[in-house]
Amino acid sequence: MSSLATVVRAESFEPPGPNNFDLPGFFGSSVTKPMVLIVLAAIVVFAFFYLSIRRRALVPSKLQYAGESAYGMVRNSIARDIIGGHDYRRFIPYLVTLFFFILVNNLFGSIPFLAFPTFSRASMAYALAGVSWVLYNAVGIRRHGFVGYLKLQTVPAGVQAFMLPLLVPLEFFSNILVRPVTLALRLFCNMFAGHLLLMLFATGGLYLIKEVGGIGYIAGPLAWVLAVAIAFLEMLVQFLQAYVFTLLNAMYLQGALADEH
């Protein structure tokens, strides 16, 4: 009977799951927390850059220096280094917006009281991946024409003719179809899983202390310590995901603009 008792007790613990991400709207409306957060992120990003560059001083203040460093990181180490040439200037606004929008939204996951990474809602990640997909394909079609662009993306250079029937569908699949899916899923899954893990350690720790007792008094706080460690790891992941998303966007744009690879 004692084994059954532990089963019953363990069963009464409700582990956090996807339902925890499906939050109800505020005050019975359909406005949910991620919706508010995504707007807040846009305001934060714009306010930061707008205030930092408002004076346009040749000798920058601290705030302007911070803004310039942030802007220059995306401008130089992503846009210029990857797209290069003189094309990259056109894409600076897009890439800067993309990086900092994702970064701030992700960091919301580690900010107390907000504590929700916006892109753990898949639909929001889909939206950015969709924008990216439309943009790089449109840029490529405008540069090379529809057929020329398809040829660029699907026919690898320097391959013998008999291999082409095999490679062309594969390239089409990987370059045209899969890219937006992997973009969206990479971002969504990282944010979703990281937040889920945090919730699991936090609620599990609480449950161990309150409901289990005994060894739970040691295991519970240990879980919380681990939760803190995971929270720091999450901050790294949050930054990296924003960086990777933007970097891949720049690479896709560069690939669409390239003459022949």
Partner: protein
């Protein structure tokens, strides 16, 4: 155990698919991202780019200005050095000239002094000669007078007569000269 399984199954049935598309969130994200992109492109990026290019021109302009100033300074220094060399050259030329002139003046003066000296000597000589002649003439007259006076007194012969007197003197002088010549 049966209940556990059924409970879990029931819970799974309620759960929404986290990968499902929620249109309201999808569209809101597009709109918010679009607005942010517009604002960044319109108000932020041009200002950063302008600041960068202004800074670049300011730095490049500063460098160019410094370079031209440096070149100007170099030119001025070279000019001054040239002037200094010219001045030194001029000074040594003037010194040389002065030395030459000095030597010339000294030579001239010496020549002049010598000429003057010789002129004075010459003048002295002629004066002496003239005085000598005068002295001879006056001595001759005086000696004649004295001699005749003395002879008259001695001889007692009146030699008042001029013609005789001069004849006697002449003779006496001739005797003297011949006597001197014989000696």
């Amino acid at each position: 155990m049966q209940t556990v399984v059924t409970l879990a199954a029931a819970a799974a049935g309620h759960e929404e698919n986290p990968l499902g598309l929620v249109w309201s969130e999808f569209i809101l994200s597009l709109v918010v991202f679009g607005i942010l992109l517009y604002l960044i492109a319109k108000f932020v990026v041009p200002r950063f780019e302008q600041t960068y290019s202004e800074r670049t021109t300011a730095i490049e302009g500063g460098l160019a200005a410094a370079e031209s100033k440096q070149a100007e300074a170099d030119a001025k220094l070279a000019e001054l050095e040239q002037q200094l060399a010219d001045a030194r050259h001029e000074a040594s030329r003037i010194r040389e000239e002065a030395r030459e002139q000095g030597a010339q003046i000294v030579a001239e003066m010496r020549e002049q002094a010598q000429a003057e000296a010789s002129r004075i000597v010459e003048h002295g000589k002629t004066q002496i000669e003239a005085e000598r002649q005068q002295a001879i003439t006056s001595l001759r007259a005086e000696v004649g007078g004295l001699a005749t006076g003395l002879a008259g007194r001695i001889v007692g012969e009146s030699l008042e007569d001029d013609a005789r007197q001069s004849r006697v003197v002449e003779r006496f002088l001739a005797d003297l000269e011949s006597g001197a010549g014989a000696n």
